[in-house]
Amino acid sequence: MNTAAFIVIAILTLAGALAAASLKKLIHAALCLVAAFIGIAAFFFLLGAEFVGLVQIFVYVGAVAVLIVFTILLTHREDESTAGFNWTGVIIALAVFGGLTWTILQTPALSITPPPIEALTVKRIGEVLMTDYVWPLQCVGLLLTAALIGGLILVKEDR
């Protein structure tokens, strides 16, 4: 695993995430969120899970981020500012980060280097999806259908 690649991807992802959390204009935040998602997909590629990286780009960048941009388009008002900021949230986020990092650094079993693994092929993922994980697959299909119908009902015009 390449250290330079890890550092570059980490800087891209964390800078994009910070920008998405703190920028004033919504559309800029949504575009920085896209950069953060692409950084996370690059992490997946670095870790050897290429299929999940591509699914991340398809679903998060191609569906979730586009949905966010459409909602910004539909709920935009000129006179309402999005600049409200609550500083207790910053303190809580810093406390959570401190707690998690302290816990991670306290565990010596986590400071291991990547073992060599065989590549996980899409053929293997397809086999596993159809044999061991067929019930979660059907449930996720049902969930997506229900979410789609629910979303449509929520935004339907009352006539």
């Binding site: 919504l26 997946f44 870790l47 050897g48 899970a49 569906a63 609550n86 949230g89 565990t107």
Partner: protein
């Protein structure tokens, strides 16, 4: 110095905290949803990092959980954004501090 599992987990924890920051400290409803999506993506990174550094022989469990988690996050984002649109249509505001009809 190759990156260890600890560095991946710290990056994922930082992403989670930044998502928590966006969800807790912004007043616009869409920023809250952006924060929630970022938290879910950080959890997926955690799953894949543990899968990669896991025991031999490799089972694809971590990858499967991450794939299903991405699908569920997309469904939840769709419903959440539909809710934001519906609320905007009724109250003409997306400021979460102004939605206090249920306040005692």
């Amino acid at each position: 110095m190759t990156p260890t599992l600890q560095t991946f987990l710290i990056v994922s924890a930082a992403l989670f905290s930044i998502g928590l920051l966006a969800a807790l400290s912004r007043q616009h409803a869409i920023f809250v949803l952006i924060g929630i999506e970022m938290m879910l993506a950080a959890a997926n990174l955690n799953f894949i990092a543990f899968w990669r550094f896991g025991s031999q022989p490799q089972s694809p469990t971590g990858v499967m959980v991450a794939i299903f988690s991405i699908a569920i996050a997309a469904a939840e984002a769709a419903v959440g954004l539909a809710l934001v649109i519906a609320v905007y249509r009724h109250y003409r505001t997306t400021n979460v501090t102004k939605l206090d009809q249920l306040k005692g």
